[in-house]
Amino acid sequence: MTTDVPGPKLSRREFNKTMVVGAAASAGSSWMAFAETSPADAQATSVNAMDVVFNVNGQTRRLLVDPRTTLLDALREHLGLTGTKKGCDHGQCGACTAIVDGKRINTCLSLAVMHEGSEVTTIEGLGSVDDLHPMQAAFIAHDGYQCGYCTPGQILSAVATLQEIGAGIPSAATVDVAQPPAATAEEIRERMSGNLCRCAAYPNIIAAITHVQKGRG
């Protein structure tokens, strides 16, 4: 018996471009059909369910969630923003990294109800296929991924890493913590240690981040 796989055939590089921008290429309408019978509805009937309102990628979103719902699950299961990945679900891998109120966090270790009024930026809000964020373009140019699963988290973390160096936040690689840190490869590597890549694309990830950092001057 043969099984036909529907949908366009993508090369690895083309597929990974969709990972870099967090877009599920052909899932737009079918996602919504799935969402209607998703855990979101089951949780809305929880006796403990609570309202929470936060802003995701510039849009105000109101959700009714069980308090157990992590920010990660709210993004993925309730809002259909599956660019933010669930890896370990225990704060060890960084695949779920998003920028919340200007800071990168592990969305798997935060409850949605703790984010009333928060501003959340996910990979879907960073750039689009037609208008890539410079970090997204650099990851493509430097081949900063293989399977692509950790890539959205890597990119959000990379954007925040350069912001943190710019803001003078020290790291374990900072030689003199009384002075502002320098944007060296050692600093970038240390600051990216919360994002694991099982394909070990690390050299190209560092190259991509360094490229963006140098472009800023």
Binding site: K103, D176, V177, M192
Partner: protein, 326 residues
Amino acid sequence: MKPFTYERATSPAQAAAMLAARPGARVIAGGTNLLDLMKLQIEAPAHLVDVNGIGLDRIEPIGAGGLLIGATVRNTDLAAHELVRQRYGVLTRALVAGASGQLRNRATTAGNLMQRTRCPYFYGTAMACNKREPGSGCDAREGVSTHLAILGTSAACIATHPSDMAVAMRALDAVVHVTGTYGERRIPIADFHRLPGDTPEIETDLRPGEIITAVELPAPLGGRHVYRKVRERASYAFATVSVALVAHIDGSRVAIERLAFGGLAAKPWRLEAAEQRGFGAPRDVARDAATVALQSARPTALNAYKVELAQRALHAALIDAQEQTR
């Protein structure tokens, strides 16, 4: 996770009242440790009191040159604070040695003190653990104890405290401010964490219904500040042994002003007996201090290496102090 209810407090007094009103309630701030444990059902609170909005997120200078750090100040913000970087370098260095950038952005000062052990037998719910299930026994003693404690252990428990921040705070003689329905009190960090004894499930001096409001740092000590952490990978791992050190330099000789070890016990292990004993060569100072520190060590066969490693880590930390340019 087991089901729970959730509410947000708006003041420290209200948070303490909310905690006291609901048996099985827990405080949540960063959530980076508690939610991990709740997913594993090692923690199963019936109610969470969110203290992120109770106004304890500031760092303020206090009389005599000290600093008052609010309970919900994030680890990143504390490490990056100008006065901490300039005057309490050992604290900044300890903070950035811990966890990852993402976790430090969320983890709080009080939460860091309150975090639970990373002993694999505490996490492994199929194993016996007196801390997780009092009276069940300790499988760690005869198990893989490689990373576990060598000082202050008991028959009931050989877990370590995982914090880096607390080790630096112990060296700095920090004071923990708490409030509860019966009023406020101040606990020297020396007395805040408990050794296991027969009740390893009781980890701190905090009483039911009490919450931490701040951590006070006394006036700066001067000297050179070092935090040396030994771990199995270069970043993002808990300490096998760590050293928080404030030292003075005189040419090629060094003197210990303050010294505390992490990774060796259920609390930061301060070494007052090795402090202020004068200048000497780093190797000699490290040997003498480690001899004092480790004479009461009771390691297992698998973690006896920590005795020598602690001495070598201290030696390396003293050389770090010499090599600091300021």
